[in-house]
Structures are given as structure tokens and as C-alpha cells.
């Protein structure tokens, strides 16, 4: 009996500990409802009333809905393109085992070591050159940002797909080829559906990193209307640092999409993170 009880107590303690770990979120949440006076009386207490005035104001000042739409468009488009192109590339590299494939793969993998700061400035010069010489608007457009997102996430995605495809048996593909299926058909009808687990991993890792990315979008996008959520949060803070209740409401708004995504895809996210890291 006492053993059962001590186990119950440990179980409760574990949850209490984990909840306490999230206390910064609590502090953010309660202060997003408080007036200035109430905040200074006790920053940790529950708010005396639930008012959404700061949310309404923060939403307007951050152009939250626009920023949300921008983030959604940029992230989803980039992830879809990365998944399509990286899986195709990795499959060809695995199935055509020669020195060219090995050299390409090695290039993809070794460049994963390059920190963003090492290429940010020359990248902007290259993109500016493309814009002014070839008249392709790479800067200050969502499409330019998507293009660069794809480039930066290519190495990791090819690496993950490459490792996975090596363990996929080739027999099915050979049978389909004998039946007269083209390479394109073989890949999309037979191979790609078998890559489901690794596709989920790649998509989740890329969604998280692209959604939260600040530095690259800050260099590429300059128009107010194009800002993603991290960008609009940054500018929002630059303008209203003193009004903490308003700021906390803005931060809560910025986190809501992430929390919803987490609630719905929790199992896949944790599995994907573990799989992506262990490879």
C-alpha cells in the first residue's frame, strides 16, 4: 500500500515539476491581461479580470493576421519544395552509385557545417546581383525567401532521405521498370509513398526552423506588409518596449500557432526530432 502511495506522490511531483518548468509561459499569460498598476502590484498573481483589449491592440500593431498568413505561405511553400526536390535528388544519388553521386552527396553533407553568418553577406550580394542584372526579384519578395529557404535546408533533407532510401529494397522498383514504368512514375508511384516516415521527419524539422527563423527573413524582406511573425514581433518590440502588458499579449499571439501545431502533431514532432537527430 505504501509503495503505491509513494508512487502516486512521485507521479504528482513529476507533473508539478514539469508545469513549474513552464512558469515563464504562465508569467507571460497572466501579465497579458493586467493593467500597468496591477502588474506592478504583483507580477505573478492571476489577473483580476479577463480583458482582451491588449490582444486587440497588439493584433493591430503587429498586423498579426497578415504576418500569420505570410509565415504560413513562406513555410509551407518552402517545405513542400524541399520535400519534393530533396527526395528526388537523394533517390537518384542512392540508386546511381558512382563517383559523381558520391561527390554531390559529400558536398551536400559537408556544407551543413557552414554557419549562416558565414554566407549571409555574400548571399545578399549574389541575390542583389541577380535582381539587378537578370531582373529576377530575389530580394524583398516571399518567393525569393522561399528560394533561399530551400537552398539552406537542402543539405539536411538530402542527408536524411539518403540514409533512409539506402534501406529501401530495390526489387519493387526493378519490377516496375520492367513493366515499362518511367523513372518519374517509379519514383512518384512506388518510392515516394514508402518514404512517408522520413518525409514527416524532414517536414517537421523544416517547419519548426523556418517558422521561427528571424535572421534570413530580416535580411531579405524590407516591406512592412511582407513581414513574417518573428519579424513583426521584432519590430513590435522596437516600438513598444515599455508597455509590457501589450508586449506579453503580442508574444502570446506569436506563440499560439506553435502551440496549436504542437497539440495536433505532438507524437510526430517528438518522434521526428529524435529520428532527425539520431541519423
Amino acid at each position: 500500500m505504501s509503495k503505491v502511495w509513494s508512487r502516486r506522490i512521485l507521479e504528482v511531483l513529476l507533473v508539478v515539476f514539469a508545469a513549474a518548468y513552464l512558469s515563464p509561459i504562465y508569467v507571460m499569460l497572466v501579465n497579458s491581461f493586467k493593467t500597468r498598476l496591477e502588474m506592478y502590484e504583483n507580477a505573478l498573481a492571476l489577473p483580476s479580470r479577463l480583458t482582451f483589449e491588449f490582444y486587440a491592440e497588439a493584433m493591430k500593431k503587429m498586423s498579426f493576421l497578415t504576418a500569420f498568413g505570410n509565415s504560413l505561405y513562406v513555410t509551407l511553400a518552402s517545405v513542400v519544395i524541399v520535400v519534393i526536390l530533396a527526395s528526388m535528388t537523394a533517390w537518384m544519388l542512392v540508386r546511381t552509385d558512382n563517383w559523381v553521386s558520391r561527390a554531390i552527396f559529400l558536398t551536400f553533407v559537408s556544407t551543413m557545417l557552414i554557419p549562416f553568418q558565414t554566407i549571409m553577406m555574400p548571399l545578399m550580394q549574389v541575390m542583389d546581383w541577380i535582381r539587378s542584372t537578370l531582373q529576377i526579384p530575389m530580394l524583398n519578395t516571399h518567393e525569393g525567401l522561399i528560394y533561399m529557404n530551400v537552398g539552406f535546408h537542402a543539405g539536411m533533407a538530402v542527408f536524411l532521405y539518403h540514409g533512409f532510401i539506402k534501406s529501401v529494397p530495390i526489387a519493387l522498383e526493378e519490377a516496375a521498370t520492367l513493366d515499362g514504368c518511367s523513372k518519374f512514375g517509379v519514383f512518384w508511384r512506388i518510392v515516394f509513398p514508402m518514404l512517408r516516415t522520413i518525409t514527416v521527419t524532414v517536414a517537421i524539422l523544416d517547419i519548426i526552423s523556418m517558422w521561427n527563423d528571424y535572421l534570413l527573413p530580416s535580411l531579405v524582406l524590407s516591406d512592412k506588409g511582407l513581414r513574417t511573425i518573428p519579424l513583426s514581433t521584432f519590430y513590435f518590440f522596437g516600438e513598444f518596449t515599455i508597455a509590457w502588458n501589450l508586449a506579453m499579449a503580442g508574444l502570446t499571439l506569436a506563440i499560439i500557432p506553435v502551440v496549436i501545431f504542437y497539440l495536433f502533431a505532438q507524437k510526430n514532432i517528438i518522434k521526428g526530432i529524435a529520428a532527425g537527430a539520431v541519423k
Binding site: V15, I25, M39, A43, M92, T111, F152, V158, A274
Partner: protein, 288 residues
């Protein structure tokens, strides 16, 4: 012939994008590190040889920033991995509430560094000050971000808060990969909990240690977003990390050549430490 066409069709699009976004800028970046330029297209780019590299070794602010980054990385490395390992042991102990605890402990990792930094900025500045005033414990609860040393610790706290859940997930995968019969055999042989942990679990967790150390090492060394939103390098540039120093040198002061030379040095250090770290830990991995 037909196969070559298919090969090109499948690999060319990504290779093209990758080359224009990563390879070409990387190569051009090396060239930029040998010139002096202020970033204005109309102004000339002057070739100065290794002058930028010589200059950065006498740049006091840069050297201080490098030192701070190393200190921050070491502290974070320890905090992130100790906490992540503890969490993973807690949630794999078979308690019924393990799953919900794991869900909560991992959550901070999903929130972007920029936003995390802002939340904690409020906690370390105003919330801490208010708590200090009401409780009288102002020796601990004061504005941490005004003191260089405490500001650095604040950065470690926030980074750890973000990364511990991440390493926890990897350690959990490692712990679950340890076969039960090995632990049972040890238990039958009379090994106590501590011995089972240090003699069996830890050696078998070596691959997880490799990954977690690698990830927290490179993550800490390259920190930028949290640095920007929590302290913005302050007070008086005392918490300006490596990445932020490079950004400020290039886009803040317009020293494109010098800043790019720093960026190349940054790359060399990141490559060097991560590669040595992987090689060192790989050697200690135990084969089952």
C-alpha cells in the same frame, strides 16, 4: 543516355538552388574577406590581402566577444546536457504521468529563440525587480540584464530552457534502445541503481551523448536570436556573442571585408570544434 537525362532531371533543380544559395556565396565570401569595402556598390572594393585577418586579432571587442562565446558555450553545454539527461531519466522511470511531463518539458524548444528571449527579458528585468521589491530578496531578484555577469548567466538560463527538452528527447530514444535483459542481468548480479546507471546505461548511451553534445555545442556557439532579443549584446557589449559581433561589424559598421574575415574564422572554428568533438566521442562509443 536516357539515364543521364533522368539523372539530371531529378538532381539538377535542387543542385542549382543549392549552388546559388550556399556554394557560390561561400566561395565569394572567401574572396570578400581579402578586400576592404563599405557595402556601398558605388564605392571601390580594395584588395588588402591578409590585412583583415591581421586586424581582427587586434580587435579587442572581437576577442572579448570570442572569449564570452566560449564561456557561454561551456556553461550551456553542461547545463543543457545535465538537465536533459535528468529529465530523460525522470520520464523513463515508468511513472504514469511521464508522457504529459515529457510533452511539457519539450515545449519551449518549439518556440523560436527571438520570442523566448523577449519573454525572459520581461522576467529578468521587470518581474525580477518587482519580486525583489515585494519580498525583499533583492540580492537575487534584481534586474539581471544590467549586470554583465548576470546577463551572461541569463543567456545560459534561456538557452538551457530552450535546449534541455531537445536533448531530453534524444536521451529518451537512447535509454529506450537499451535492451531490458542487460539491465535485468545486472540487477540479478547485484548491481545497485547507481551502478546500473553509471556502468551500464551511460556507456550504452554514448551515441546519444555524441549527438547531444554536438547539437548543444554548435547551437550554443552559433547563438544569435536569443542574444538579440534578450540582451542585444548589452550591457555595453559585454554579452555580444560571436555571431552578433559579425553581424554588427558587417551591417552595423559597414566593415564588409573585416566582418567577412571574422565570418570565415567563425566557420573554421565551428567546423573544427564540431568535427573534433564527433571524432572524440565516437571513439568512446561501446559496441553491443
Amino acid at each position: 543516355m536516357k539515364n543521364i537525362a533522368w539523372y539530371a532531371l531529378f538532381t539538377f533543380p535542387l543542385l542549382f538552388i543549392f549552388t546559388t544559395v550556399v556554394i557560390i556565396p561561400f566561395v565569394i565570401g572567401i574572396a570578400y574577406s581579402f578586400i576592404e569595402w563599405d557595402g556601398i556598390p558605388a564605392n571601390p572594393k580594395v584588395f588588402v590581402g591578409f590585412e583583415n585577418y591581421v586586424a581582427l586579432f587586434s580587435d579587442q571587442r572581437f576577442l572579448a566577444s570570442a572569449g564570452i562565446t566560449v564561456l557561454f558555450t561551456l556553461l550551456s553545454l553542461i547545463a543543457v546536457n545535465v538537465l536533459g539527461l535528468l529529465f530523460s531519466l525522470m520520464v523513463t522511470s515508468g511513472l504514469k504521468t511521464s508522457n504529459s511531463a515529457r510533452t511539457m518539458l519539450f515545449m519551449p524548444n518549439l518556440i523560436g529563440g527571438l520570442i523566448l528571449g523577449y519573454i525572459w527579458q520581461f522576467i529578468f528585468t521587470d518581474a525580477f525587480k518587482m519580486i525583489g521589491e515585494t519580498t525583499g530578496w533583492s540580492g537575487f531578484f534584481f534586474n539581471w540584464l544590467l549586470d554583465p555577469q548576470y546577463a551572461l548567466i541569463a543567456l545560459v538560463v534561456v538557452f538551457t530552457w530552450q535546449m534541455a527538452g531537445y536533448t531530453m528527447v534524444i536521451y529518451i530514444a537512447g535509454i529506450q534502445g537499451i535492451p531490458d535483459d542487460v539491465l535485468e542481468a545486472a540487477w540479478v548480479d547485484g548491481a545497485n541503481a547507481w551502478q546500473r546507471l553509471t556502468r551500464i546505461k551511460f556507456p550504452l548511451l554514448m551515441p546519444s551523448f555524441t549527438i547531444c553534445l554536438f547539437l548543444s555545442l554548435s547551437g550554443a556557439f552559433k547563438i544569435y536570436d536569443v542574444n538579440l532579443s534578450l540582451t542585444n549584446g548589452g550591457p555595453v557589449n559585454k554579452t555580444e556573442m560571436f555571431a552578433m559581433n559579425i553581424f554588427n561589424e558587417i551591417f552595423g559598421y559597414g566593415h564588409y571585408g573585416l566582418g567577412q574575415a571574422k565570418a570565415i574564422v567563425f566557420f573554421l572554428i565551428v567546423a573544427l570544434i564540431t568535427l573534433t568533438q564527433v571524432i572524440l566521442t565516437k571513439r568512446r562509443e561501446v559496441q553491443m
